[in-house]
Each structure stands twice: as C-alpha cells, then as structure tokens.
C-alpha cells in the first residue's frame, strides 16, 4: 500500500491485513518496553491544519513506538499562517526527505493532492468532511476485538452524519467487513442520499434497540443552531440523544471523541461498561502503527516474507 487516502482504496483483505498487524503490535503494547525498531531512521511528518488532540498524539506515539523520527507541524505558528500555499509547504517539507506525511486538512481531497506532489507516503488523518480512514480502521479493530467478527453485525451510526468524515469512512469500512449499517438523525443532518453509501436511512431512534452497536457522532455545537440544522440543541437531544432510556443493556456504544456530555450522549452511558470509547482511543495507537508500517515497510518488504507477525516483530535490516 503506497498511501492511505480513503477507505475506498481498500478491500476487505487489506483491512484485515492491517487489523492483524495491529493485533501483533497490540501484544507489544502490553510489554514493559513498548518500542520496536521497525521504522528506525525513517522520518514521519505530522502536518496538521486543524486542531486535533487524539489523532495527532496517537500518530506521534505510533511513529515513536516504531522508532521513526517524528516532526510535528501545526498550522498555527508556522509558515502556513503566513499564507504559504499547501503546495509550497509540501515542497519545503519534502526537502527534508520524509518517508511519510500524515496530513489533517479542513479540505476534502488535500491528501490526494499531496500524494501527487511528494515522494513520501501520504496518510490521511482527516480531510474536510470527506474521509478519516484511520479512525474507521481503529473502530473496526475495537469492534473485532469485542465481537470477533463484524459479519452480520447491526451497526447504527447516529447524529450529524452530514458533516462527519468519520461517518463516511466508517460506513464504508463496516460494510466491507460484512456489517449492516443504519444511519439515523434528523433529515437536515442525515440526508436520504446516504442510502447511496449502502446504509439504511432512518429519521428516528424508535427502532435503535435492534442494533448490536450504536455509534454516536459528535455534534458540532457552534455550527448547529446557527445554520438551523437543528432548531435547538434541546430539541435535538429530546429526539436523538443516546441515553440509558434508548440504549439497551447489551448494546455496545462507540464515539470518535471528543464527546459533548449531555448532548449526543448522556453522562451515564459514557461511563457505562458497554461504552467502548476508551478502547477506541487505545486502539488508535496500534492501528496507526499498523498503517505506518504498512505504507512504509509493507511496500518495501519482499513478498516472500512468511507472515505479518515476523515482519512486524523482527528488526528491519534494510
């Protein structure tokens, strides 16, 4: 795999390969010394044009766990703020000879453009409202750990689908792994056109009890009332908040974070044992290790190496 730009670039086999690799890295995470030499001497640049805590820190940690050098660039305080174009910034960074560039951009398609401008592998850490493939992969990883398999699982994604890159990547990834996906929320935030992605569209949570997994999305508070996507947050929570009244005891709960307590989720379900939210965060590191390994070492490794485990755990000689 040369780049990871979109879940659309992957098939089931590729996702399962990444998840298996992540599981291998997961065994390392339990050891006292958590570092592997796999990407020693490689340079990973984190180029973040949007605020991010968990995605950026988990990419940084993932790269460091694999012994790569890491350079973090955020939009504020850099030349980006002085009006430098994306293309010029990339040309500048490419002069450092990075092996991978991880990019978070407020604009759809920015990672794809980057891939045409640099020799480095490009990993999409979220582009506009388009894609967030590593989030979807870590969600698949979390669910696979719990359910064993996503085949036939009934997953409901609830809330602001319209503005969510997480939702678009998750629908595609969950479906590739055999799950049935339902999307639910008010028609302003869940247009009927989501059916084109292969999801069932609902505008009510009345039947949410049929779900095995409920995946709630973050409401972007600043945007909602201002654009009349919802008349008020009170009105939204009355109909679409996932709370103990609506969530059954055996249903699993997920959320990409950060959570607005008391808006899309009630406090008691966040803290309940059925919540996988902290498991998702932990999965973020190992899955991003797997993705970095896949785009950097995976491609360079001869095809006759026996299996993912030996590739992951042996020091790289190249």
């Amino acid at each position: 795999m040369r780049h990871l730009l979109s879940i659309e670039d992957l098939d089931r086999e590729a996702i399962e390969r990444i998840l298996a690799l992540a599981a291998n890295f997961g065994t390392v995470a339990d050891r006292p010394i958590k570092k592997l030499p796999s990407l020693r001497g490689r340079l990973v640049i984190n180029l973040f044009y949007e605020a991010s805590t968990r995605t950026r820190s988990s990419f940084e940690l993932a790269a460091k766990r694999l012994s790569a050098d890491v350079l973090n660039l955020v939009a504020s305080g850099s030349s980006v703020e002085k009006g430098e174009s994306l293309r010029d910034t990339v040309a500048t960074l490419s002069a450092y000879g990075p092996d991978a560039i991880v990019i978070r951009s407020p604009y759809a398609g920015a990672p794809g453009l980057l891939a045409g401008w640099t020799h480095a592998a490009v990993v999409n850490a979220g582009d506009g409202k388009h894609q967030h493939p590593t989030q979807a992969l870590l969600d698949c990883y979390t669910l696979k750990n719990r359910l064993g398999s996503l085949d036939g699982a009934n997953i409901w994604i609830v809330g602001d689908l319209l503005h969510s890159r997480v939702a678009r990547s998750c629908i595609q990834a969950f479906k590739l792994l055999g799950a049935d996906v339902t999307v639910a929320g008010p028609p302003t935030l869940v247009p009927d056109a989501f059916a084109a992605l292969g999801a069932t569209v609902r505008h009510s949570l009345a039947d949410m009890r049929e779900a095995d997994v409920v995946y709630a999305l973050r409401m972007q508070l600043e945007r909602m009332e201002q654009d009349s996507h919802v008349p008020s947050l009170r009105e939204y929570t009355a109909h679409f908040q996932v709370n103990s009244r609506r969530l059954g005891p055996r249903q699993l709960l997920m959320h990409p974070g950060p959570v607005n307590r008391g808006i899309e989720l009630s406090g008691e379900v966040i803290d309940s044992p059925q919540s996988l939210i902290t498991e998702q965060v932990a999965a973020g590191v190992v899955v991003r290790m797997a993705v970095l390994y896949e785009v950097l070492a995976g491609a360079a490794t001869p095809a006759d190496v026996p299996d993912a485990q030996s590739r992951a755990l042996e020091p790289q000689t190249a």
Partner: protein
C-alpha cells in the same frame, strides 16, 4: 447600441476552394468555391469555377467544412484587474482558435465594469488588442453588490451590449424590477445568473448523492430554478426581456419552458460542460470540474441536451472562465469556480453530441450562432454581401485537447486530455483572418 470592437486588420482577400459550405440559416449545404474580397463574402460558385483575383490568397478547402463563425454571449476576459488569467488579446485569440467571430465579456472584473468611462476605455483597449470583435456587458448593480442600479442608459450610450451581474445573482427582486423598467429606456440584454444565495449557502458542487458521499457542501438545483421562476414572473409583469445564463438543471429548463409558454420574453443558454459532464466527474476532486453553476446529475444533463435539441434552450455559451494554475492547484473547496471553453467547445460538442447522432450538425451550428440576434451583432452568414464571419473546420481531424497548449493564458479546461474530432483551420472574423492553424498555415504557404 451594442458596440463590438477588434483591432484593425487588413480585410481578407482569399479564394476558398471546394470547401463544404454548411450554413443552415441561409439554406446552403454543399461544396463551393467561396470568394472573399475586401473582407466581404463576394461570391459563391460550384467547386472549381471561381478564380482568385490578383493579390488574393487561394486556400484549399477540399474535404473541409466552412461554417458561419460562432458567437459567444458569455465569456470572462478578466480585464481589467486579473490579466494574469486572461486579457483581451489572449482571450480573443482563444475565441478565434475555437471558430468564434464575436464574444461578449462579463462585467465581474476588478474593478467591476460599471462606470461608463471604464467601459469606453475597455473598448479602446479592444480596438488595439482584440483578435475578434468583443463586446462588453456592464453590471446591473453597482460593484455587483446587488444594492443600487448602475447608470444603465449612460452605459448603453457608451456601448454596453447589456447588463449582467454574472458570478452573482440579483438577489433582490425589487432591484431586478427596476432594472427591467430601465431596460425599456435603454434596451440591451439583461442576462441573469440565477442562484438563491440562501439555498446555495457555502456549496461547492451539485447537491446529490455524490456531494453526500464526498462530504462536500451542495448547491441544490432549486437554487437556480426557483430564481428563474421568480424572475420570469417579474419580467412578465414588467413586459421586459430576460436572458437566463448557464442553465444547469432539469427544473430550470422546465421553468424556462413554462415561462415561454405563457409568452414571457425569455431566452436561455447552456454551456458545453453542462451538456457533457455530470457530478460524477467531481468524484476525483479535481478542481477543473468546479464551476458555478455546478455540474449536475445525469438526469439534468439529459434534460439540457433535450432542451438544446428542441430549441427550449436556443443557444450555447461557453462561460469561458480562465484561472491561473496556482489558483486551481489547491483542494477542491478552496479552488475558484470556472473552466475555460472557447477552444474546445465545437470539438467536444461535435464529438459527443453530433457524431453519436444525438444532435444534428445543423442544430449545433444554429445554437452556436444564435446569440448574435440577442446581442445586436450581425448574424454570421455565408452569403454574398455579408461581412466574412466564417470558420473552416476539418471534421475528420482528431486531436487531444490541451496537448499542444492553449491560446488562452489559462489551462483550466475541464475537457483537457479528451480526444476529439473537429479542428479549426481558419477563422474569419469581421472580415479579417483572425486565426490560422499553424500546420495549415504552413501547408497553404
């Protein structure tokens, strides 16, 4: 009256031998010798019957077609203020290369074309730089701000073809009503970019399944069609005449057809890209496919082609909208809207609509010249006594768009890389040779 100006050139003196002359408006369809003297069509005769007078050039037209040259009522020549994208020289050179003999430039320049003195200055510049006659639209509202009317009568006196806030809608119904009342005093085309800003919002592409899949903010079809319905009623009530620019949606076509059935004096134009491309082309997130109005659904595209065929939409406009390479080479949402079109329009439409039998060549030619009547330009015709406005095209020549570069200063053509048929070899505009294809020029010499 509308004023069209080009740089002075020696009147054409040439004999075009044996070209297949197709001029649907004049009922001419067959091989002819065509003699052009002093920039006028002097004589048509059976092939091999006319002799070149002394000093006249002979051009071998055998196997080629001679059409009345095209007229584009809607281009952006970016002058003044954005000459890094296009200027009057490069823009009209692109027009000539596409077989056009006249173009109308929009007013959304920097500064906006609204003071009469600026318009007079531009006409003066055109009389020095323009390869084909160019006319100018003036703005409807001062600074395109949609608040107050421009000095419409004075602008017409200065030569404005008409009025358009193109790039922006006239959101205020009241302002449009006043513009229609002033049109009774000064005449001129009122060309409307129809879009309801409250429905378009921050949209960057057609609202539909593709926009939802890509996570891009959508511009719904009703943003255009509701404004067409509104403005048709205002025009009807005021007894005025309106022209709807770059129709993009089935609902818009229906709104126009309904208005015309009621007797509203309304016309409509459509671009080659809306006739041939859809929102599926945006999937690549290539900013070449970002324009306003946006590329819409396959169903919308079919409705536009049908409307072009049956005459509901009577003319084709390119909405030639050049942008610099660096401006387009950014993420889709950040890129400016627009595509160039003057050099590719005939070839893509001939290849994609005429060759497969969807539209007759005669219909395409009629739609490419019909704008003349609206903009007070003498309709191009290959008839003795008329000014030579004609293009010689090799319909069998295949070429790849953009492969040899562009005459335009900009390269943001949404059809780049397409293999097409129909190469312009020679364009006569306002009685002078405005374009000669390089290889053809060498072979003729």
């Amino acid at each position: 009256m509308s004023v069209f100006t080009a740089a002075p050139r020696p009147p054409a003196e040439l004999l075009l031998r044996g070209a297949h002359v197709l001029d649907p408006g004049s009922g001419i369809d067959g091989p002819h010798d065509v003699l052009v003297r002093g920039g006028e069509i002097a004589e048509l005769g059976p092939p091999g019957t006319l002799a070149a007078p002394a000093g006249a050039e002979t051009v071998d037209g055998e196997g080629k077609h001679l059409f009345p040259a095209f007229v584009d009522p809607h281009v952006h020549l970016r002058t003044p203020g954005q000459e890094h994208k296009e200027d009057l020289e490069t823009g009209t050179r692109a027009a000539a290369a596409g077989g056009y003999c006249a173009v109308v430039a929009m007013a959304n320049t920097d500064p906006v074309i609204d003071p009469p003195a600026l318009l007079r200055g531009l006409l003066l510049t055109a009389s020095r730089d323009a390869r084909v006659p160019v006319g100018f639209m003036a703005a409807i509202s001062g600074g395109l701000r949609g608040e107050t009317l421009t000095d419409m009568s004075e602008l017409r006196d200065a030569g404005a073809v008409g009025f358009s806030d193109d790039g922006k809608p006239v959101a205020s119904a009241g302002l449009l009503r006043h513009a229609l009342r002033h049109q009774r005093l000064c005449g001129g085309l009122l060309a409307l970019h129809e879009e309801d800003p409250t429905l378009s919002g921050s949209g960057v592409m057609h609202e539909g399944t593709v926009s939802v899949e890509l996570g891009l903010a959508g511009i719904p079809s009703i943003s255009e069609s509701t404004m067409i319905a509104r403005d048709a009623q205002i025009a009807e009530a005021e007894g005025g005449r309106v022209h709807f620019q770059h129709l993009s949606a089935r609902r818009s076509v229906e709104a126009l057809a309904e208005a015309r059935a009621r007797g509203v004096q309304a016309s409509g134009e459509v671009t080659p890209h809306h006739l041939l491309l859809t929102d599926e082309d945006v999937r690549t997130l290539d900013s070449s496919f970002k324009m306003n109005p946006p590329l819409r659904s396959a169903d919308d595209r079919r409705a536009l082609v049908e409307a072009l065929r049956d005459g509901t939409i009577e003319l084709i406009a390119t909405d030639h909208a050049p942008h610099g390479r660096d401006e387009k080479n950014v993420p889709f949402e950040q890129a400016p809207m627009g595509t160039t079109g003057l050099e590719s329009s005939f070839a893509v439409l001939y290849t994609e609509l005429v060759l497969p039998g969807i539209i007759a060549l005669e219909v395409l030619l009629a739609r490419l010249t019909a704008a003349a009547a609206l903009i007070e330009f003498e309709p191009p015709a290959i008839v003795p006594g008329r000014t030579a406005n004609a293009c010689l095209i090799d319909l069998t020549a295949q070429w790849r768009i953009g492969e040899a570069g562009y005459e335009s200063r900009s390269a943001n053509c949404c059809f780049a890389g397409r293999d097409v048929y129909g190469r312009t070899l020679l364009t006569l505009a306002d009685g002078a040779v405005a374009f000669r294809e390089r290889a053809f020029a060498l072979s003729a010499a």
